[in-house]
Symmetry: C3
Subunit: 425 residues, 3 copies
């Protein structure tokens, strides 16, 4: 064997190693995609569990159609808005053209050493749809189906990708040094702003707020469904945060899974103690919210934190969510599933936490984080408000009082979710 | 270091690379197996969700036992019927002997560079059981438990592996050039034929079809359970189609996941619009069926299609399923969960789609596809009919009218599914 | 290219191969961790499904908090109790200090060629929490929430890691040659002993045992929830047993998945026939128990058995569980979900099976297995009894009769699980 033959063989070996590395990393990204997909089932069961049985079909309908709309519109415009390749207009807006097409390069590691074009599209598309799903729960039990679907379509195909591009597509927030690992701001607070504006344009559910500041609790109809939702969301977060490493790097991914799970755990325990002390009841919905709060809170910096810092972030998130749920009610902001307290409040806190805890902590970073939160908020609020406003002025966004009393299942879908069972209401 | 030593080292490097490649590919196949497994839970919750609460224990019982029977019989005869090694009788029938045994080669890449003997057995066994599960929903609410179990046992251990062998085991349909990537025909239409013959031998449920062609809807008892089923089936399809690549090849698997998810999404949206227009109601069961229709439709050619072609296939499937559900009812073919419209009709359409869309499209391929559908249908219908006939003549296949009124939970199992809740019926 | 340059390149190639191998193996361990995590949802839905609707919030609360407590305490003390590094006191007790910290080595294959420190922590932490969850179902419907939480905290953070260390941490049972692949003893019987002592200290539920030995069945309130639980547990066992290989070794992991699934299947079929013959009813809860029994039974030797031996172990486990459930009732040991029959009895049987079936079978091994079971039992019973005793003497462990009648959802949490539905009881 001469050295020339050896050199050729070594080159082949290098190629083969590259192929396997590509395959392994891409494998993780595909699994992460499947995990993010199952979050849609988590959101669906959580939201129906925390609302009344007369609106169950309606919520399931919305949450079944959202991933479909999300994936299709992401294929048509979203992906190319979020990853336009070469931005223009100062990193504020860019568009790579309609439709998706991998070409032959897109199937190989020439596109990216860790995943194919198709894997990236599907992972990011599953992500995009979650932002719209966050809105779904907050506006539940009184929104018109057609208006909600139009809002979701525009929100997921235009608003979410544009602000997403600012950071993940290489836009001006990336240039600024804004840090948001897996989307406390870019996904969760974005969904939260869409939810907040929706709630404000819709108003509270009938009977939620009585005279003299009386708040009438409207309990959800199935705690097992809510529990299924929370556990599936935690499971999905393995892919949401773990996949955001964008490779199967063992140290990075496993640390992220640890900080994510620890923050969820700390959020659960903190919410339990806070609610037990404040409301004298170990409230299961607060434990659920605490888990989700911890998950949202750690998301912006899941790769930057030590386990101890993850405990701190999860604990603060769990306390925050337990305090914010009654506070929103005092402000007569009627959010049936606590989406604002979880996704908006803890999304913002988690983004700030990057400047407070972990290896990037510092006043400079904190200031950058505040700017990122602000610009994303400004755009999302403006966009959402405009869409809600136009929908309200045209086809209307709220069902009639009779329809709301009857429940959206019968009024919007002409069917019941549980026809075999006697209902109290 | 002399060149001989280098040559030895290079050889070792080659072996190690082969080992890791084997490990990575096998890893994906094992995960795909787990994903196909969870489809059984998806079928279970979908079917109970779409039927009445008085038959819930019975359906859960069937769907819990089917994977068990499927795996055990696949170990005893099915696997060796489907992959007999060297066929005889012109690629129509072959048998590799009773029982499974890997030997030492079966644990290594010498068996297959991408998976072990055990991985292949379990992946294929999980697949096999799904064909029987498809039948379960169609014959629900009136079939005798013991007859159903005997049918399933024979169907999954003999009928399914024989027609499966024709293509995937290297039989005459493979020789013919028939294409069925992950089983629109070999799994879904096979299950569909078993379902259709079962329905015809059983007749409709009591009260389903009234006088003068009146069709009485029998709504399912839990839309959340149905939704859980649909989402788990979509998730499982990541493994069903993605695993059918039979390796973790990044380009191939990620494209398959994209076409699969896009077809599901297009099916959902198409079914939504079709049902909204035709029945003036956004019917959630049609959205569920639309998702499944898109998944079944893309299955035969998931690796051949572009995203745009996946949209076309998903859309047609979604329209088809929405039209077929009422059409079967007009023909008094009583299919409680829409299994025929989803698995049989879209299974056939998806198989034909290989000759219409994608890189294999052409009249020649279309003609081959038709032949494949025909031969598999002929065998499956004959086999199923024979079994149903013999069961009907011996132990009977239908419960008495009293038992059907009472519900199979009480009559067949002596227990209720929801003893704590007041029932309407 | 000279031989020196080639040698350098070969060295680099070796490093890269090591990196990918590390990445692939670690990837499987992370996925296995996610699968074990989802077992907590499986336990939650199984337990609520098999108990009454008036105690649903309470059980969900416990099962949502347990993984949180488990992960947090495992981070603080459990992991370092279980894997103390260098044991003292004769392999009976060791402690590696408070808190977890990977350091830079912990992120690389220098810690372990197959997984990072963080991956090991999270995988083992998810495992640990399952032991406490087993107790939850057995003591359901009458235990005080705060007492249960304190018991769980101590059990999962101190008792479980100490007995776990005896084998998996390199303690005296490892030295002895005790074999327990994935924890029939170390996880399932440990949980079972905690459950048994809890039941004995608590006593049976009100009304369960009447005069003259009359046993009043208290049926669970939702078979679909129970089914979801069983399927998720089976799915989770892919990670529980498959991950216990501690690498992605294709032959070893795929064999384990096959024996695991075959044992579950055999357990289901055996329990079906046994209950159908004995009780003249095809009892769905026995099929559920049969699946779980097969899974627990195979766990100690899943890597040692042939498929045929897995069938034997699964079958025996399925028969055992069906006989033990009524036997415990005869002994007035009130176990609402059959946790003792599944986890304790089949955990012990599975551990003994290592000495009876498979490649380690022999009287010598059997005797060692008996010793292992004995020592773990002794410690677990002593520890649990002490904690239960102290709790009973201080804050009390059982709710009042009024609270038990009313249900723990209202009495302990002030809320209902299904407020929209009319209840029979």
């Amino acid at each position: 064997m001469d050295t020339t033959a050896i050199a050729v063989q070594l080159q082949n070996v290098g190629k083969e190693i590259g192929n396997i590395s590509f395959t392994t990393n891409n494998l993780w990204m595909m699994i992460a995609t499947a995990l993010v997909f199952i979050m849609h089932l988590g959101f669906a069961t959580l939201e129906v569990g925390l609302t009344r049985s007369k609106n169950t079909v309606n919520i399931l309908f919305k949450n079944s159609i959202i991933p479909a709309i999300g994936i299709l519109t992401y294929a048509i415009v979203g992906f190319n808005l979020m990853f336009p390749g070469s931005q223009f207009a100062g990193g504020i807006f860019g568009f790579g053209g309609f439709g998706i097409k991998a070409g032959t390069v897109g199937l190989t590691s020439a596109y990216n050493p860790n995943f194919t074009y198709w894997t990236e599209f599907l992972f990011q598309g599953m992500f995009a749809a979650t932002a719209a799903t966050i809105v779904s729960g907050a506006v539940a039990e009184r929104i018109k189906l057609n208006s909600f679907l139009i809002f979701s379509l525009l929100f997921v195909s235009i608003s979410y990708p544009i602000t997403g591009m600012w950071k993940w597509g290489g836009g001006f927030l990336e240039t600024l040094g804004f840090y948001d690992f897996a989307g406390s701001t870019l996904v969760h607070s974005v969904g939260g702003w869409g939810a907040l504006t929706g709630i404000l344009f819709l108003g509270p559910r009938l009977g939620k707020y009585g005279k003299k500041g009386k708040i009438n609790p409207i309990p959800g109809h199935s705690m097992p469904l809510a529990a299924i939702g929370v556990f599936l969301l935690w499971l999905g977060w393995f892919g949401f945060n773990g996949g955001s490493v964008l490779s199967a790097n063992p140290g990075a991914v496993s640390l992220v899974l640890v900080t994510t799970s620890i923050a969820a755990s700390a959020g659960a325990v903190a919410a339990m103690f806070t609610s037990w002390n404040l409301f004298k009841n170990p409230d299961i919905t607060m434990v659920f919210n605490g888990i989700l709060a911890g998950l949202v809170g750690i998301t912006a910096g899941a790769d930057l934190m030590s386990p101890m810092e993850a405990i701190a972030i999860g604990t603060i998130s769990g306390v925050l969510v337990t305090l914010m749920v009654p506070l929103f009610d005092k402000m007569k902001i009627d959010d049936p599933v606590g989406a604002l307290s979880v996704h908006l409040v803890c999304g913002i806190f988690g983004t700030l936490a990057v400047g407070i805890f972990g290896i990037k902590a510092g006043l400079g970073q904190l200031w950058i984080q505040i700017q990122g939160i602000f610009w994303v908020a400004l755009f999302s609020i403006t966009f959402s408000s405009l869409v809600w406003y136009l929908l309200k002025k045209t086809i209307g966004i709220r069902v009639s009082e009779e329809e709301e009393e009857m429940g959206l299942d019968l009024s919007e879908h002409g069917m019941e979710s549980y026809p075999d069972f006697e209902k109290v209401i």
